[in-house]
């Protein structure tokens, strides 16, 4: 398709109506009543003047002059056509967020616009990148519009967010410096976008939308408590009705841009809790499904000779909701004895090492803490007096150190794991500080996380669900409600599953099956107020025009000369009439 490098020159086209007006005014027929046409007969056959000869000539000459002006104006505008060169590399970034599911179908509009764009251009090679939480290619490069559109049909719009910036970076890397990048989304480009590699087409519509932006289901005593937050993402207050638990409902008003929280006390149940809003501009965020939270509890055995230490540990276990004090069949043994757990046991061990007085030093810091380790979450060890041996040799991976002296280490055992805590309880303030129960809680939580099953059952879209897997399973099967099943490999007794489909997702791990719920709950994606339709940017930067387009002004000037020659010939033939 030709482009104009100096489109302002098209202002010369104003000469077209001016010329036509001159002709019209000149050739306009004045009406005059005469007594009789008797004396006007025979004028038609006149060779010079007075006949229709000049009238018949006028349109042709006018047409030639109009064409000449048109060609000159277009030539002055610097017309260029795409040179027949190699295939143009086009990388299309597709917004995979769920706001593209709005009722006016921005996804469908974007695909149609893409089809038209590709069909109207020259040869190309297109790659499609789906911009969801983790941008990725949709398929191999395509070179025909029907192929590209067919691949674009796989454009999935279920993501809780779209990493457009990451996808565009990926597009630049894929396409290189001469690639043309087209972003198809529902939100307009926030700033001015000039000529360059990037074009940004948005197909959204700014509409009010009511959405469930938060939902929580917790244990409350013998029953359960559910919180559902509904947000009015519109510019005017709205009235709505939330239907839940099958047959119950609550109606309420929400001011513009405000949220309304419903707290519901329910009887304990294993069934999913479903909350539903009426249909509006975006349907996917009108529904929330909540499963009951699991209540795991770790069996903890205590074999401690130091009375003070034992008292601290037992007090912790008795108060921790996720731990149960047992005397047999423990999953975690807390002890200050050098032995006590057979190697064949899968139990974890927290071994408190209390070294002889002669080897002990009292440390007040600074303590070097591995903050990436699950044991250290929430700990500070601030103002803690930590008495321990000064030997720098302690088996296992250091977790807390003072200088080069390891104070806490952890290492796998044959079937379990052993954490070593080096401390003299009688000379340390660690047991009296908040860090000690935190350390114990982290240990219990860490071990619970490695046990088979789900730690949580309700997730936000695009968050990661962790499933503990026992045994030697290599992969689990993930079966979302409305998507194809997929296999996810097991990595170190656990599976990381991206919660990428709204609704219930079943996970088949060997013989056992688990289910978790996924809800949108993304304020940004549900907010359609800033959506809009626009096209920003242009691929026709100076370098592109120079390299890929050839000027055809010379051809137009040549045609103009031909027309003017023909014009002159016609005038000559008609004896100077115009």
């Amino acid at each position: 398709m030709p482009l104009l490098t100096l489109p302002i020159a098209m202002i010369a086209l104003a000469a077209l109506p001016a010329l036509a007006s001159i002709y019209w005014l000149r050739n306009r027929y004045r009406r005059q009543e005469v007594s009789s046409l008797l004396l006007w007969g025979g004028q038609r056959e006149a060779r010079e003047g007075g006949g229709r000869f000049s009238r018949l000539q006028t349109p042709l000459l006018l047409l030639l002059e109009l064409l000449a002006i048109l060609l000159l104006a277009v030539a002055a505008a610097g017309p260029r056509v795409q040179a027949l060169a190699e295939r143009q590399s086009i990388v299309v970034v597709l917004d995979g967020s769920y706001s593209m599911q709005a009722e006016h179908d921005p996804r469908g509009q974007a695909i149609e616009a893409l089809r038209k764009q590709l069909a109207s251009g020259g040869k190309y090679s297109a790659q499609l990148i789906l911009a969801d939480a983790n941008p990725h290619l949709l398929g191999p490069p395509t070179t025909r519009p029907d192929e590209t559109v067919e691949q674009a049909q796989g454009w999935d719009t279920h993501a809780g967010s779209a990493d457009l910036a990451g996808a565009i970076t990926m597009a630049y890397e894929l396409g290189g410096p001469r690639a043309k990048i087209l972003v198809l989304t529902d939100h307009p480009y926030p700033d001015e976008l000039g000529a360059g590699q990037l074009q940004w087409w948005s197909f959204g519509e700014a509409k009010p939308n009511l959405a469930i932006t938060s939902a929580v289901r917790n244990v409350a005593g013998e029953g359960e408590r559910v919180m559902v937050e509904v947000t009015n993402l519109g510019t005017a207050s709205a009235h709505t009705t939330l239907t839940f638990a099958g047959d119950q409902s609550r109606s309420f008003d929400i001011a513009a841009a405000a949220s309304h929280r419903l707290w519901l006390d329910l009887r304990a149940s294993d069934q999913p809790f479903v909350a539903q809003l009426p249909d509006d501009a975006l349907a996917i965020d009108n529904r929330a499904v909540l499963l009951p939270q699991p209540r795991p509890s770790l069996r903890v055995g205590v074999a401690i000779d130091d009375d003070a230490l034992q008292e601290s540990v037992v007090r912790f276990v008795e108060h921790a909701k996720n731990a149960t004090l047992v005397t047999d069949g423990e999953q975690l043994l807390i002890t200050d004895r050098p032995t006590g757990v057979p190697a064949s046991s899968a139990a974890w061990v927290l071994r408190v090492i209390s070294e002889p007085q002669a080897e002990v030093s009292a440390y007040i810091g600074p303590f070097v803490v591995d903050r990436s380790h699950p044991l250290t979450v929430g700990t500070s060890f601030d103002r803690v007096i930590w008495s321990a041996g000064s030997d720098d040799a302690l088996p296992g991976r250091p977790v807390v150190m003072v200088g080069n002296v390891p104070l806490v280490t952890e290492a796998p055992r044959a079937l379990g794991r052993e954490v070593r805590l080096r401390v003299r309880p009688d000379q340390s303030s660690l047991m009296q500080s908040p860090d000690f129960p935190i350390l114990l809680w982290n240990l219990v939580d860490w071990q619970l996380g490695t046990l088979p099953g789900l730690r949580k059952t309700n997730y936000r879209l695009d968050s990661t669900a962790r499933l503990g897997v026992a045994g030697t399973l290599e992969q689990v099967n993930v079966l979302p409600e409305d998507a194809a099943p997929r296999a996810v490999p097991v990595v170190s007794d656990g599976v990381q599953i991206t919660a990428d489909r709204v609704g219930l997702t079943q996970v088949q791990a060997g013989e056992r099956s688990y289910t978790f719920a996924v809800n949108t709950m993304s304020y940004e994606e549900s907010d359609l107020r800033a959506a809009g339709t626009s096209r920003a940017g242009s691929w026709l930067d100076e370098a592109t025009v120079r390299d890929e387009y050839r000027s055809i002004a010379w051809l137009l000037l040549l045609l103009t000369l031909v027309l003017l020659g023909l014009h002159t010939a016609l005038i000559s033939r008609s004896g100077g009439l115009s």
Binding site: Q32, W40, E48, G50
Partner: protein, 290 residues
């Protein structure tokens, strides 16, 4: 009747008081008694002798001449005539063309002629030639009393004459007022007009728009009678051709009139109404200044 036409009648009546209609070249005929004609008649005024021919009134034989010469000779006397003017006004639409006072001038001229006829003791009758030739109501009286003179005919004068030939007075004087801008052969028309007339005068009354071509440029000409349209480009050549055609047209009518012994006078409406100079009619022997 149009107010403009009625105003023309008043103007013409006033203008006509200064003139008297004359007998034309041919001997006028009319009712016996009031004027001496050029022909032989039954008046008491002696005119000539001639040899008796069978059929002559024996009462006219001059027996004294017969006694002297033994030849039957009859005495000829001038005839006495009562002259009459038949006025025919072309009432076609071409006489009422837009932006031309031809209609008013036609009515005024007819009024002037009728007044001049009255001054010369002529009786008169007025006819209008629209789609048909019909007598104008009150046309024998003073112009102020004429009724129904309108210029709405869609046919030319020749067609109206063919359609309904008027019952004109034999041997009367006839004056026809028309622009003559219709397509026909002039001679048969003039012959029909002059048949049994003592004298015939055709006044070609044109407008300034008829004798002067329109301004140069493209024109969409509309025929006032037929509504026909013709688009032409006027330039010097076209102007020249038009004027030549007008002259040829006039010449054709003039030639026809000469053949029949009629008089053709051309008048232009605008100067006529402005100055009431009827000298062309005087020069043609149609009118006499009182």
């Amino acid at each position: 009747m149009d107010e403009d036409v009625r105003r023309g009648l008043s103007e013409g009546e006033v203008a006509g008081t200064r003139y008297r209609l004359t007998a034309m070249r041919q001997t006028p005929a009319g009712r016996v008694g009031m004027h001496l004609g050029h022909r032989v008649g039954n008046s008491i005024e002696f005119m000539d002798y001639r040899e008796y021919k069978p059929g002559d009134d024996l009462r006219r034989v001059d027996w004294s001449v017969y006694a002297r010469s033994d030849r039957l000779t009859v005495k000829l006397y001038r005839e006495e005539v009562s002259p009459h003017l038949d006025l025919l006004v072309d009432a076609s639409r071409s006489m009422a063309v837009t932006a031309s006072p031809k209609a008013r001038a036609s009515a005024a001229l007819a009024a002037a002629l009728s007044t001049a006829a009255g001054n010369a003791k002529f009786t008169h009758a007025l006819y209008q030639a629209g789609d048909r030739v019909t007598p104008v109501q009150g046309g024998a009286g003073r112009p102020g009393g004429w009724q129904g003179l309108d210029f709405a005919g869609r046919e030319g004068l020749d067609a109206a004459l063919r359609q309904s030939p008027p019952a004109w007075r034999r041997r009367g004087t006839r004056v026809v007022i028309s622009d003559l801008l219709f397509e026909t052969k002039p001679l048969p028309v003039v012959q029909q007009l002059g048949r049994d007339a003592a004298g015939l005068c055709i006044v070609q009354l044109l407008g300034q728009c008829d004798v002067t071509p329109p301004a140069r440029g493209n024109l969409r000409l509309v025929d006032s009678e037929t509504g026909q349209v013709r688009e032409i480009y006027i330039d010097a050549a076209a102007e020249k051709r038009y004027l030549q055609k007008l002259q040829n047209h006039h010449d054709a009518w003039y030639s026809a009139c000469r053949q029949v012994g009629a008089t053709l006078v051309q008048l232009i409406a605008e100067p006529l109404l402005a100055s009431w100079d009827l000298s062309p009619l005087v020069e043609a022997g149609v009118l006499q200044v009182k």
